[in-house]
Protein backbone atom coordinates (compact mmCIF):
# COMPACT_ATOMS: atom_id res chain seq x y z
CA UNK A 1 0.00 0.00 0.00
CA UNK A 2 1.36 3.42 -0.93
CA UNK A 3 -0.98 5.77 0.93
CA UNK A 4 -2.67 4.64 4.13
CA UNK A 5 -4.89 6.54 6.56
CA UNK A 6 -5.68 4.65 9.75
CA UNK A 7 -8.56 5.64 12.04
CA UNK A 8 -8.04 9.36 11.44
CA UNK A 9 -10.03 11.75 13.61
CA UNK A 10 -10.08 15.48 12.92
CA UNK A 11 -12.18 18.23 14.48
CA UNK A 12 -12.31 21.99 13.94
CA UNK A 13 -13.61 23.41 17.21
CA UNK A 14 -16.87 21.63 17.94
CA UNK A 15 -17.18 20.32 14.39
CA UNK A 16 -15.97 16.70 14.32
CA UNK A 17 -15.23 16.16 10.62
CA UNK A 18 -13.42 12.82 10.49
CA UNK A 19 -14.43 10.12 12.99
CA UNK A 20 -12.12 7.21 12.35
CA UNK A 21 -11.52 7.65 8.63
CA UNK A 22 -9.47 4.78 7.14
CA UNK A 23 -8.27 4.40 3.56
CA UNK A 24 -5.71 2.26 1.73
CA UNK A 25 -4.62 3.27 -1.76
CA UNK A 26 -2.98 0.57 -3.86
CA UNK A 27 0.05 1.23 -6.04
CA UNK A 28 -0.90 2.39 -9.52
CA UNK A 29 -4.64 2.68 -8.93
CA UNK A 30 -6.93 5.69 -9.16
CA UNK A 31 -9.14 5.84 -6.10
CA UNK A 32 -12.05 8.26 -6.00
CA UNK A 33 -13.46 9.46 -2.69
CA UNK A 34 -17.00 10.72 -3.10
CA UNK A 35 -19.42 12.31 -0.69
CA UNK A 36 -21.59 15.33 -0.14
CA UNK A 37 -20.11 18.81 0.02
CA UNK A 38 -18.68 19.65 3.44
CA UNK A 39 -18.40 16.03 4.54
CA UNK A 40 -14.60 16.24 4.93
CA UNK A 41 -13.19 14.86 1.68
CA UNK A 42 -10.67 17.69 1.21
CA UNK A 43 -9.78 17.56 4.91
CA UNK A 44 -8.89 13.88 4.51
CA UNK A 45 -6.78 14.62 1.42
CA UNK A 46 -4.82 17.41 3.13
CA UNK A 47 -3.67 14.92 5.78
CA UNK A 48 -1.78 12.97 3.10
CA UNK A 49 0.68 15.81 2.48
CA UNK A 50 0.77 17.04 6.05
CA UNK A 51 -1.20 20.23 5.41
CA UNK A 52 -3.34 19.05 8.31
CA UNK A 53 -2.36 16.74 11.15
CA UNK A 54 -4.81 14.25 12.64
CA UNK A 55 -6.11 14.66 16.19
CA UNK A 56 -5.93 10.86 16.39
CA UNK A 57 -4.90 8.15 13.97
CA UNK A 58 -2.03 7.70 11.53
CA UNK A 59 -1.22 8.77 7.98
CA UNK A 60 1.40 6.80 6.02
CA UNK A 61 2.90 7.68 2.64
CA UNK A 62 5.57 5.45 1.12
CA UNK A 63 6.09 3.68 4.43
CA UNK A 64 6.64 6.93 6.37
CA UNK A 65 4.30 8.23 9.05
CA UNK A 66 3.61 11.76 7.85
CA UNK A 67 2.74 13.40 11.17
CA UNK A 68 6.00 12.22 12.73
CA UNK A 69 8.30 13.56 10.02
CA UNK A 70 10.62 16.52 10.48
CA UNK A 71 10.06 19.51 8.17
CA UNK A 72 12.85 18.39 5.82
CA UNK A 73 11.56 14.81 5.73
CA UNK A 74 8.07 16.10 5.03
CA UNK A 75 9.41 18.13 2.08
CA UNK A 76 10.97 14.93 0.71
CA UNK A 77 7.59 13.19 0.88
CA UNK A 78 5.90 16.18 -0.74
CA UNK A 79 8.35 16.07 -3.66
CA UNK A 80 6.77 12.70 -4.54
CA UNK A 81 3.22 14.00 -4.30
CA UNK A 82 1.51 16.29 -6.80
CA UNK A 83 -1.54 18.15 -5.50
CA UNK A 84 -4.20 19.55 -7.82
CA UNK A 85 -6.22 22.11 -5.89
CA UNK A 86 -9.95 22.71 -6.23
CA UNK A 87 -9.51 26.19 -7.68
CA UNK A 88 -6.03 25.44 -9.08
CA UNK A 89 -4.30 27.72 -6.49
CA UNK A 90 -2.00 29.14 -9.16
CA UNK A 91 0.19 32.00 -7.92
CA UNK A 92 -1.41 35.20 -9.26
CA UNK A 93 1.84 37.11 -9.45
CA UNK A 94 3.61 34.48 -11.56
CA UNK A 95 3.09 33.46 -15.17
CA UNK A 96 1.90 29.94 -15.97
CA UNK A 97 5.48 29.00 -16.89
CA UNK A 98 6.82 30.38 -13.60
CA UNK A 99 4.08 28.54 -11.70
CA UNK A 100 5.17 25.26 -13.26
CA UNK A 101 8.84 26.02 -12.77
CA UNK A 102 8.52 26.76 -9.05
CA UNK A 103 8.48 23.13 -7.95
CA UNK A 104 11.20 22.24 -10.47
CA UNK A 105 13.56 24.81 -8.94
CA UNK A 106 13.57 22.77 -5.73
CA UNK A 107 15.11 19.81 -7.57
CA UNK A 108 18.89 19.64 -7.61
CA UNK A 109 20.52 19.83 -11.02
CA UNK A 110 17.60 21.55 -12.76
CA UNK A 111 19.03 24.28 -14.98
CA UNK A 112 16.91 27.07 -16.47
CA UNK A 113 17.01 25.30 -19.83
CA UNK A 114 15.87 21.98 -18.34
CA UNK A 115 13.08 23.77 -16.48
CA UNK A 116 11.90 25.49 -19.68
CA UNK A 117 11.87 22.18 -21.53
CA UNK A 118 9.96 20.40 -18.76
CA UNK A 119 7.44 23.25 -18.52
CA UNK A 120 6.79 22.98 -22.26
CA UNK A 121 6.36 19.19 -21.99
CA UNK A 122 3.86 19.48 -19.15
CA UNK A 123 1.86 22.23 -20.84
CA UNK A 124 1.77 20.10 -23.97
CA UNK A 125 0.46 17.14 -21.94
CA UNK A 126 -2.49 19.25 -20.73
CA UNK A 127 -2.94 20.87 -24.15
CA UNK A 128 -1.87 24.34 -23.09
CA UNK A 129 1.05 24.82 -25.50
CA UNK A 130 2.15 28.43 -25.76
CA UNK A 131 0.56 29.50 -22.45
CA UNK A 132 3.88 29.92 -20.60
CA UNK A 133 3.77 33.70 -20.51
CA UNK A 134 0.13 34.15 -19.58
CA UNK A 135 -0.94 35.03 -16.07
CA UNK A 136 -3.59 32.98 -14.21
CA UNK A 137 -6.05 35.89 -14.47
CA UNK A 138 -5.90 35.53 -18.28
CA UNK A 139 -7.04 31.87 -18.18
CA UNK A 140 -10.54 30.37 -18.19
CA UNK A 141 -11.65 28.06 -15.36
CA UNK A 142 -10.86 24.92 -17.36
CA UNK A 143 -7.47 26.26 -18.45
CA UNK A 144 -6.60 27.06 -14.82
CA UNK A 145 -7.47 23.51 -13.76
CA UNK A 146 -5.28 22.16 -16.54
CA UNK A 147 -2.44 24.49 -15.60
CA UNK A 148 -2.85 23.33 -11.98
CA UNK A 149 -2.58 19.72 -13.16
CA UNK A 150 0.49 20.58 -15.25
CA UNK A 151 2.14 22.15 -12.18
CA UNK A 152 1.34 19.05 -10.13
CA UNK A 153 2.90 16.64 -12.65
CA UNK A 154 5.91 18.84 -13.48
CA UNK A 155 8.08 17.27 -10.79
CA UNK A 156 7.15 13.75 -11.96
CA UNK A 157 5.53 12.70 -8.68
CA UNK A 158 4.66 9.11 -7.75
CA UNK A 159 1.30 10.19 -6.37
CA UNK A 160 -1.28 12.66 -7.59
CA UNK A 161 -3.99 14.05 -5.35
CA UNK A 162 -6.92 15.76 -7.07
CA UNK A 163 -9.21 17.94 -4.95
CA UNK A 164 -12.49 18.37 -6.83
CA UNK A 165 -10.84 18.59 -10.25
CA UNK A 166 -14.09 19.09 -12.17
CA UNK A 167 -16.11 21.27 -9.79
CA UNK A 168 -17.61 24.30 -11.49
CA UNK A 169 -16.76 23.17 -15.02
CA UNK A 170 -19.13 22.64 -17.91
CA UNK A 171 -19.76 19.03 -19.06
CA UNK A 172 -17.39 19.26 -22.02
CA UNK A 173 -14.50 20.66 -19.96
CA UNK A 174 -15.28 18.08 -17.25
CA UNK A 175 -14.81 15.30 -19.80
CA UNK A 176 -11.55 16.92 -20.99
CA UNK A 177 -10.22 16.97 -17.41
CA UNK A 178 -11.34 13.37 -16.79
CA UNK A 179 -9.51 12.25 -19.92
CA UNK A 180 -6.42 14.10 -18.74
CA UNK A 181 -6.57 12.29 -15.40
CA UNK A 182 -6.78 8.93 -17.22
CA UNK A 183 -4.02 9.93 -19.64
CA UNK A 184 -1.79 11.11 -16.80
CA UNK A 185 -2.20 7.77 -15.03
CA UNK A 186 -1.45 5.82 -18.21
CA UNK A 187 1.54 7.88 -19.31
CA UNK A 188 3.12 8.64 -15.92
CA UNK A 189 2.02 5.46 -14.08
CA UNK A 190 1.06 7.47 -11.01
CA UNK A 191 -1.10 6.44 -8.08
CA UNK A 192 -4.00 8.87 -7.76
CA UNK A 193 -6.64 9.90 -5.26
CA UNK A 194 -9.50 11.93 -6.70
CA UNK A 195 -11.86 13.81 -4.39
CA UNK A 196 -15.15 14.54 -6.12
CA UNK A 197 -18.91 14.70 -5.72
CA UNK A 198 -19.41 14.21 -9.45
CA UNK A 199 -20.39 10.52 -9.83
CA UNK A 200 -20.10 10.49 -13.64
CA UNK A 201 -16.55 11.72 -13.29
CA UNK A 202 -15.80 9.13 -10.58
CA UNK A 203 -17.12 6.30 -12.78
CA UNK A 204 -14.92 7.47 -15.66
CA UNK A 205 -11.61 7.86 -13.87
CA UNK A 206 -11.63 5.54 -10.86
CA UNK A 207 -10.59 1.93 -10.37
CA UNK A 208 -12.25 1.99 -6.95
CA UNK A 209 -14.66 4.41 -5.32
CA UNK A 210 -15.01 5.09 -1.60
CA UNK A 211 -17.94 6.99 -0.18
CA UNK A 212 -17.31 9.24 2.83
CA UNK A 213 -20.29 9.69 5.11
CA UNK A 214 -20.37 11.07 8.64
CA UNK A 215 -16.59 11.03 8.98
CA UNK A 216 -15.95 7.42 7.90
CA UNK A 217 -15.80 5.44 4.66
CA UNK A 218 -19.30 4.04 4.30
CA UNK A 219 -18.64 2.02 1.15
CA UNK A 220 -15.60 0.97 -0.88
CA UNK A 221 -15.71 -0.88 -4.19
CA UNK A 222 -15.36 -0.72 -7.94
CA UNK A 223 -17.61 1.57 -10.02
CA UNK A 224 -19.74 -1.47 -10.87
CA UNK A 225 -20.02 -2.46 -7.21
CA UNK A 226 -21.08 0.97 -6.03
CA UNK A 227 -23.74 1.12 -8.75
CA UNK A 228 -25.10 -2.23 -7.51
CA UNK A 229 -24.91 -1.23 -3.83
CA UNK A 230 -28.21 -1.39 -1.94
CA UNK A 231 -27.18 0.74 1.06
CA UNK A 232 -29.77 3.56 1.10
CA UNK A 233 -27.11 6.13 2.02
CA UNK A 234 -25.00 5.19 -1.01
CA UNK A 235 -28.04 4.98 -3.29
CA UNK A 236 -29.34 8.30 -2.01
CA UNK A 237 -26.03 9.96 -2.87
CA UNK A 238 -25.38 8.41 -6.29
CA UNK A 239 -28.98 8.86 -7.39
CA UNK A 240 -29.22 12.36 -5.87
CA UNK A 241 -32.15 11.46 -3.60
CA UNK A 242 -31.84 13.31 -0.26
CA UNK A 243 -34.93 11.52 1.12
CA UNK A 244 -32.99 8.23 1.08
CA UNK A 245 -30.11 9.84 3.00
CA UNK A 246 -32.52 11.37 5.54
CA UNK A 247 -34.34 8.06 5.94
CA UNK A 248 -31.05 6.30 6.60
CA UNK A 249 -29.96 8.98 9.08
Amino acid sequence: MSIILKEVHKAFGDNQVLRGFSLEVRDGETLAVVGQSGVGKSVALKHVVGLLTPDEGEVWVDGQQVEKLSQEELYEVRRNVGYVFQFAALFDSLTVGQNLGLGLRRIKGMTDEKIRTRVRECLSLVELEGFEDRYPAQLSGGQRKRAGLARAIATEPKYLLYDEPTTGLDPVTTTVIDRLIIRTREELKVTSVVITHDMDSAYRVADRIGMLYEGVIRFMGTPEEIQACTDPVVRGFIEGKPELLEGAG
Binding site: L51, Q71, G82, Y83, F85, A89, L90, G103, R106, R151
Partner: protein, 263 residues
Protein backbone atom coordinates in the same frame (compact mmCIF):
# COMPACT_ATOMS: atom_id res chain seq x y z
CA UNK B 1 -31.89 35.58 40.68
CA UNK B 2 -29.64 33.32 38.72
CA UNK B 3 -30.33 35.19 35.50
CA UNK B 4 -29.57 38.48 37.21
CA UNK B 5 -26.29 37.02 38.49
CA UNK B 6 -25.43 35.75 35.02
CA UNK B 7 -26.03 39.15 33.44
CA UNK B 8 -23.84 40.79 36.07
CA UNK B 9 -21.04 38.35 35.31
CA UNK B 10 -21.39 38.66 31.52
CA UNK B 11 -18.97 41.61 31.14
CA UNK B 12 -16.32 39.69 33.09
CA UNK B 13 -16.89 36.69 30.84
CA UNK B 14 -16.43 38.85 27.75
CA UNK B 15 -13.34 40.43 29.25
CA UNK B 16 -11.93 37.00 30.05
CA UNK B 17 -12.61 35.66 26.54
CA UNK B 18 -11.07 38.78 25.03
CA UNK B 19 -7.96 38.37 27.20
CA UNK B 20 -7.68 34.69 26.23
CA UNK B 21 -8.10 35.56 22.52
CA UNK B 22 -5.45 38.27 22.76
CA UNK B 23 -3.05 35.93 24.57
CA UNK B 24 -3.67 33.26 21.90
CA UNK B 25 -2.97 35.81 19.13
CA UNK B 26 0.28 36.87 20.80
CA UNK B 27 1.22 33.20 21.13
CA UNK B 28 0.54 32.59 17.43
CA UNK B 29 2.54 35.71 16.52
CA UNK B 30 5.38 34.31 18.61
CA UNK B 31 5.08 31.03 16.71
CA UNK B 32 5.37 32.83 13.38
CA UNK B 33 8.32 34.87 14.72
CA UNK B 34 10.14 31.70 15.76
CA UNK B 35 9.42 30.06 12.36
CA UNK B 36 10.75 33.21 10.69
CA UNK B 37 14.01 33.01 12.61
CA UNK B 38 14.29 29.29 11.74
CA UNK B 39 13.68 30.12 8.05
CA UNK B 40 16.51 32.68 7.90
CA UNK B 41 19.16 30.13 6.84
CA UNK B 42 17.06 29.20 3.75
CA UNK B 43 18.72 31.94 1.72
CA UNK B 44 18.24 29.89 -1.44
CA UNK B 45 14.50 30.49 -1.15
CA UNK B 46 14.24 34.10 0.04
CA UNK B 47 17.48 35.53 -1.38
CA UNK B 48 16.26 36.10 -4.92
CA UNK B 49 12.96 37.60 -3.68
CA UNK B 50 14.52 40.20 -1.38
CA UNK B 51 15.31 42.85 -4.00
CA UNK B 52 11.79 42.75 -5.39
CA UNK B 53 10.32 43.21 -1.92
CA UNK B 54 12.74 46.05 -1.17
CA UNK B 55 11.46 47.79 -4.28
CA UNK B 56 7.80 47.18 -3.42
CA UNK B 57 8.04 48.01 0.28
CA UNK B 58 10.67 50.73 0.12
CA UNK B 59 11.01 52.39 -3.28
CA UNK B 60 7.27 52.36 -4.01
CA UNK B 61 6.60 53.97 -0.62
CA UNK B 62 8.87 56.94 -1.25
CA UNK B 63 6.28 59.17 -2.99
CA UNK B 64 3.68 58.98 -0.18
CA UNK B 65 6.39 59.37 2.50
CA UNK B 66 7.80 62.46 0.76
CA UNK B 67 4.34 63.94 0.21
CA UNK B 68 3.54 63.67 3.92
CA UNK B 69 6.98 64.94 4.96
CA UNK B 70 6.82 67.96 2.62
CA UNK B 71 3.56 69.27 4.02
CA UNK B 72 4.58 68.45 7.58
CA UNK B 73 7.75 70.52 7.09
CA UNK B 74 5.74 73.45 5.72
CA UNK B 75 3.23 73.36 8.57
CA UNK B 76 5.94 72.94 11.20
CA UNK B 77 7.74 76.07 9.99
CA UNK B 78 4.55 78.14 9.85
CA UNK B 79 3.29 76.97 13.26
CA UNK B 80 6.68 77.56 14.87
CA UNK B 81 6.76 81.10 13.54
CA UNK B 82 3.16 81.69 14.69
CA UNK B 83 3.97 80.36 18.18
CA UNK B 84 7.19 82.32 18.67
CA UNK B 85 5.65 85.69 17.63
CA UNK B 86 8.69 87.77 18.60
CA UNK B 87 9.19 86.23 22.03
CA UNK B 88 11.70 83.73 20.68
CA UNK B 89 14.26 84.46 17.95
CA UNK B 90 12.96 83.35 14.58
CA UNK B 91 15.94 81.13 13.86
CA UNK B 92 14.47 78.72 16.41
CA UNK B 93 12.10 77.79 13.57
CA UNK B 94 15.04 75.83 12.13
CA UNK B 95 15.65 74.19 15.50
CA UNK B 96 12.03 73.16 15.91
CA UNK B 97 11.65 71.89 12.35
CA UNK B 98 14.91 69.91 12.44
CA UNK B 99 14.58 68.47 15.91
CA UNK B 100 10.92 67.51 15.51
CA UNK B 101 11.32 66.04 12.05
CA UNK B 102 14.35 63.94 13.00
CA UNK B 103 13.22 62.76 16.42
CA UNK B 104 9.49 62.36 16.00
CA UNK B 105 7.53 63.31 12.92
CA UNK B 106 9.82 61.85 10.26
CA UNK B 107 9.86 58.32 11.73
CA UNK B 108 6.37 58.24 13.23
CA UNK B 109 4.39 59.81 10.38
CA UNK B 110 6.25 57.70 7.84
CA UNK B 111 5.71 54.63 9.99
CA UNK B 112 1.98 55.29 10.29
CA UNK B 113 1.64 56.01 6.57
CA UNK B 114 3.53 52.84 5.70
CA UNK B 115 1.49 50.77 8.14
CA UNK B 116 -1.43 51.71 5.89
CA UNK B 117 0.35 51.23 2.58
CA UNK B 118 2.75 48.37 3.31
CA UNK B 119 1.00 46.60 6.22
CA UNK B 120 -2.37 46.56 4.46
CA UNK B 121 -0.78 45.43 1.21
CA UNK B 122 1.04 42.52 2.87
CA UNK B 123 -1.98 41.41 4.91
CA UNK B 124 -4.30 41.56 1.89
CA UNK B 125 -1.86 39.75 -0.41
CA UNK B 126 -0.98 36.95 2.01
CA UNK B 127 -4.59 36.73 3.21
CA UNK B 128 -5.79 36.23 -0.36
CA UNK B 129 -3.07 33.64 -0.89
CA UNK B 130 -4.22 31.85 2.27
CA UNK B 131 -7.92 31.71 1.38
CA UNK B 132 -7.24 30.69 -2.24
CA UNK B 133 -4.92 27.87 -1.02
CA UNK B 134 -1.85 29.39 -2.68
CA UNK B 135 0.07 29.06 0.61
CA UNK B 136 -0.96 25.40 0.82
CA UNK B 137 0.17 25.03 -2.80
CA UNK B 138 3.60 26.42 -1.87
CA UNK B 139 3.87 23.81 0.88
CA UNK B 140 2.95 20.98 -1.49
CA UNK B 141 5.74 22.18 -3.82
CA UNK B 142 8.16 21.61 -0.91
CA UNK B 143 8.65 25.31 -0.17
CA UNK B 144 8.73 26.68 3.33
CA UNK B 145 6.05 29.41 2.99
CA UNK B 146 7.61 31.40 5.82
CA UNK B 147 10.96 31.48 4.00
CA UNK B 148 9.28 32.33 0.69
CA UNK B 149 6.71 34.89 1.83
CA UNK B 150 7.53 36.22 5.29
CA UNK B 151 11.33 36.46 5.50
CA UNK B 152 11.87 38.63 2.37
CA UNK B 153 9.08 41.01 3.40
CA UNK B 154 10.33 41.46 6.96
CA UNK B 155 13.95 41.88 5.89
CA UNK B 156 12.90 44.36 3.20
CA UNK B 157 10.91 46.31 5.81
CA UNK B 158 13.83 46.43 8.25
CA UNK B 159 16.27 47.50 5.52
CA UNK B 160 14.08 49.98 3.67
CA UNK B 161 12.12 51.77 6.42
CA UNK B 162 15.21 53.67 7.70
CA UNK B 163 16.08 54.75 4.15
CA UNK B 164 12.56 55.99 3.48
CA UNK B 165 12.48 57.75 6.86
CA UNK B 166 15.85 59.47 6.24
CA UNK B 167 14.65 60.62 2.82
CA UNK B 168 11.32 61.84 4.22
CA UNK B 169 12.98 63.63 7.14
CA UNK B 170 15.44 65.36 4.80
CA UNK B 171 12.65 66.48 2.48
CA UNK B 172 10.56 67.64 5.45
CA UNK B 173 13.43 69.80 6.73
CA UNK B 174 14.03 71.14 3.21
CA UNK B 175 10.33 72.03 2.95
CA UNK B 176 10.55 73.84 6.28
CA UNK B 177 13.61 75.73 5.07
CA UNK B 178 11.94 76.76 1.80
CA UNK B 179 8.85 77.87 3.72
CA UNK B 180 11.03 79.92 6.06
CA UNK B 181 12.72 81.60 3.08
CA UNK B 182 9.56 82.30 1.12
CA UNK B 183 6.92 82.98 3.77
CA UNK B 184 8.74 83.95 6.98
CA UNK B 185 11.36 86.35 5.66
CA UNK B 186 14.14 84.24 7.15
CA UNK B 187 17.51 83.78 5.52
CA UNK B 188 19.18 80.46 4.85
CA UNK B 189 21.87 81.37 7.38
CA UNK B 190 19.26 81.98 10.10
CA UNK B 191 17.49 78.71 9.37
CA UNK B 192 20.78 76.79 9.38
CA UNK B 193 21.84 78.43 12.63
CA UNK B 194 18.67 77.18 14.27
CA UNK B 195 18.99 73.77 12.65
CA UNK B 196 22.53 73.30 14.01
CA UNK B 197 21.79 74.76 17.44
CA UNK B 198 20.73 71.64 19.33
CA UNK B 199 21.63 69.07 16.70
CA UNK B 200 23.16 65.85 18.03
CA UNK B 201 24.38 63.03 15.76
CA UNK B 202 22.66 60.68 18.21
CA UNK B 203 19.31 62.09 17.02
CA UNK B 204 19.85 60.50 13.63
CA UNK B 205 20.81 57.17 15.21
CA UNK B 206 17.70 57.41 17.37
CA UNK B 207 15.55 57.95 14.26
CA UNK B 208 17.18 55.00 12.51
CA UNK B 209 16.62 52.69 15.51
CA UNK B 210 12.98 53.78 15.64
CA UNK B 211 12.42 53.25 11.94
CA UNK B 212 14.09 49.81 12.04
CA UNK B 213 11.66 48.79 14.76
CA UNK B 214 8.74 50.28 12.82
CA UNK B 215 9.78 48.35 9.70
CA UNK B 216 9.87 45.13 11.70
CA UNK B 217 6.51 45.95 13.31
CA UNK B 218 4.60 46.81 10.13
CA UNK B 219 5.86 43.90 8.05
CA UNK B 220 5.69 41.22 10.75
CA UNK B 221 2.18 42.22 11.82
CA UNK B 222 1.04 42.40 8.17
CA UNK B 223 2.50 38.92 7.55
CA UNK B 224 0.94 37.56 10.74
CA UNK B 225 -2.58 38.73 9.98
CA UNK B 226 -2.26 37.70 6.33
CA UNK B 227 -0.97 34.25 7.24
CA UNK B 228 -3.73 33.61 9.78
CA UNK B 229 -6.60 34.79 7.59
CA UNK B 230 -9.68 32.60 7.66
CA UNK B 231 -12.80 32.62 5.50
CA UNK B 232 -13.14 34.41 2.19
CA UNK B 233 -13.17 38.04 1.12
CA UNK B 234 -14.56 39.14 4.48
CA UNK B 235 -11.68 37.41 6.25
CA UNK B 236 -9.17 39.19 4.03
CA UNK B 237 -10.85 42.53 4.81
CA UNK B 238 -10.79 41.83 8.54
CA UNK B 239 -7.11 40.83 8.46
CA UNK B 240 -6.18 43.93 6.49
CA UNK B 241 -7.98 46.24 8.90
CA UNK B 242 -6.45 44.51 11.93
CA UNK B 243 -2.97 44.71 10.43
CA UNK B 244 -3.24 48.48 9.99
CA UNK B 245 -4.87 49.16 13.37
CA UNK B 246 -2.55 46.91 15.39
CA UNK B 247 0.65 48.04 13.68
CA UNK B 248 -0.35 51.72 14.11
CA UNK B 249 -0.95 51.13 17.81
CA UNK B 250 2.32 49.24 18.24
CA UNK B 251 4.20 52.04 16.44
CA UNK B 252 2.85 54.58 18.91
CA UNK B 253 3.68 52.35 21.89
CA UNK B 254 7.20 51.75 20.54
CA UNK B 255 7.58 55.48 19.94
CA UNK B 256 6.95 56.12 23.63
CA UNK B 257 9.14 53.16 24.64
CA UNK B 258 12.15 54.39 22.65
CA UNK B 259 11.68 57.93 23.96
CA UNK B 260 11.62 56.63 27.53
CA UNK B 261 14.59 54.30 27.13
CA UNK B 262 16.93 56.02 24.68
CA UNK B 263 16.53 59.76 25.27
Amino acid sequence: MRMKGDSLLAPFGMLGRSAVDTAAQIGRWGGLASNTIRALPRIGIWGRLLLGQMARIGVDSVPIALFIATFTGVVMALQASYTFTGAVPLYFVGTLVGKTMVLELGPVLTGLALSGRVGANIAAELGTMRVTEQIDALETLAYDPVAYLVVPRILAGILMFPIVVILATSVGIAAGWLTSLQLLDMSTAEFMKGLRLFFEPWDVQFAVIKSLSFGLTVTSIGCFFGFTTEGGAEGVGTSTTRAVVVSSMVILVLDAFWAATLL
